[in-house]
Amino acid sequence: MNTAAAPAARRRMNVSEASVPTLARGAKLRFDESRQRWVLLVPERVMAPDDIAVEILQMCDGARAVAVIIDLLVEKYAAPREEIAADVIAMLQDLAESGFLVEAKS
């Protein structure tokens, strides 16, 4: 059957430096007071992003482009831009494929 392709195209977000990502409706980044750490709440699951993942997710505010996020991280962490860019894009692509990250509507 080939009913498959059409509707789910929304989740085929291809993360690039030009993307402007934001958390999807079902994904909520929240500080968990009782465990003293950040969590990403998603349908029927709780994810534990580490510190840098949290920093990146906080910058996915629907206004900043991925390129801007990368530039900010390059300023802060002494690592080559290509390396940081590859890591950030891979992480965001992963989240997009899980349906937790979407392209902000312009």
């Binding site: 059957m1 009913t3 498959a4 509707p7 789910a8 929304r10 989740r11 085929r12 999807a24 409706r25 079902g26 909520k28 929240r30 968990d32 007071e33 009782s34 465990r35 969590v39 990403l40 709440l41 349908p43 029927e44 699951r45 709780v46 994810m47 534990a48 992003p49 580490d50 510190d51 840098i52 993942a53 962490y77 690592a79 390396e83 940081i84 890591d87 950030v88 891979a90 992480m91 992963d94 989240l95 997009a96 494929e97 899980s98 349906g99």
Partner: protein, 403 residues
């Protein structure tokens, strides 16, 4: 940047996470962290009559259900003690007239909420109200892809069409959607179409869950048990779909354990990372735990707090950790991996919840269970015993031939 920072790992599966274990030498002096998520069974009432339901055969009457204020108090308390997510479930949670109010209350106290529903009672207005109240996700059950079979399994006329309609509305109002497909002998052949259906309705996720045999499902085991060949075929279908639909539809697969050699790590281990609250307010280590008739479960209506009951009640401590285990579990290398399997299944099949789960090949009863499964798969009746408050109704013989 190390590769590890680029991944968010699920913590739900890690029992050590946020958990301080003070395990004594074969004692139950253990302290467990509050679970991240809690299942709320709002009611046992349900318009559907699926024979695979894991609710207890003795169902709670509406008059005994927690009131709106009692549920609100529960939600507030859960948020205060560190629970992050709640699943509004049942029975059918939408039969409760106060559902929107309770979802709103969950949002107000900071809980992430999931709705686990048959969807046959939902209107677009109701879904909009739920979304406005802060509902974060909806899970809709489907019984098959073909409406005739689906409606026969659910024992509800035109249910399938209503579900499809409700799924469309859920997506229109922007709710993330999970399709829940409980699989058994009489619908497994439709799995490829069920997966296609989930993609076509723009679901984010599908749970392909084999029946777990407790409560009503145990009563209906002969009409549900698949053959080993069906299980193999099903696994192939799932694996193929996972590869093809990566990034489109996430697939969670719950395997059946009657044909397994290692038992499932049920609930992540008894009292380790999960509890649920029944319609009347009892706090259970597993939604099927009331099938274990010799345990007493404390209620939110008692004088104890939820946290106290989780930490200290006898029912939770009885099978926590490994100190309670008999042989062959006690000396088993896998005892901290599966915690002896499922207590409810041990009770149902051996008469004692303290025995090794017979799904385990080390159980003396394993071969017998395997044979029962094979025999029922080959010779069992197709007639369902429909779930209802009357104690069950046997399906008319002429209908059961539709499979």
């Amino acid at each position: 940047m190390s590769p590890s920072i680029t991944h968010s790992s699920p913590v739900l599966a890690d029992p050590r996470d946020g958990v301080a274990i003070l395990e004594g030498n074969r004692t139950v002096a253990e302290q467990y962290g509050i679970p991240l998520a809690v299942l709320l069974e709002m009611t046992h009432r349900c318009p559907l009559q699926c024979g695979y339901c894991s609710n207890p055969v003795e169902m709670e009457r509406a008059s005994n259900e927690l009131t709106t204020d009692e549920w609100k108090k529960v939600l507030t308390e859960l948020a205060e003690i560190g629970v992050l997510q709640v699943h509004f479930s049942g029975g059918e949670p939408t039969v409760r007239k106060d559902l929107v109010e309770l979802v709103q209350h969950a949002s107000d106290v900071g809980l992430y909420s999931n709705l686990i529903t048959s969807a046959v009672l939902l209107s677009k207005e109701k879904l909009e109200a739920l979304a406005d109240a802060g509902l974060s996700h909806i899970q809709i059950s489907f019984q098959a892809s073909d409406p005739v079979l689906a409606n026969r399994i659910g024992g509800f006329r035109n249910g399938h069409a209503r579900k499809l309609e409700a799924a469309g509305w859920a997506r229109e109002v922007g709710l993330p959607l999970t399709v829940n497909a409980v699989m058994h002998r009489q619908n497994m052949h439709q799995l490829p179409e069920i997966i296609d259906m989930a993609v076509a309705m723009d679901a984010d996720r599908i749970e392909v869950a084999n029946v777990q045999y407790y409560g009503w499902a145990l009563k209906n085991r002969a009409s549900l048990m698949p053959s080993i060949e069906q299980i193999d075929e099903m696994t192939k279908v799932v694996e193929e779909a996972e590869a093809r639909l990566k990034g489109i539809l996430a697939i969670d697969f719950v395997i059946p354990d009657y044909y397994a050699t290692r038992p499932k790590k049920c609930m992540g281990g008894w009292g380790r990372q999960f509890f649920n609250i029944t319609p009347a307010g009892k706090i259970l280590p597993c939604h099927a735990a009331e099938t274990i008739t010799d345990l007493n479960f404390e209620s939110v209506r008692s004088n104890h707090s939820i946290a106290w009951i989780w930490q200290n009640s006898d029912a939770f401590n009885k099978y926590r950790g490994t100190g309670w285990m008999p042989e062959p579990c006690r000396s088993c290398a896998f005892k901290e991996q599966d915690y002896g399997g499922c207590r409810c299944q041990a009770f149902a099949l051996t008469g004692s919840a303290g025995n090794t789960d017979p799904a385990c090949s080390f159980s003396p009863l394993h071969d017998k269970i395997f044979k029962i499964a094979e025999t029922e798969a080959a010779e069992g009746t197709n007639r369902y015993i429909y779930r209802n408050f009357a104690g069950g109704t046997l399906e008319p013989e002429e209908n059961a031939h539709d499979a």
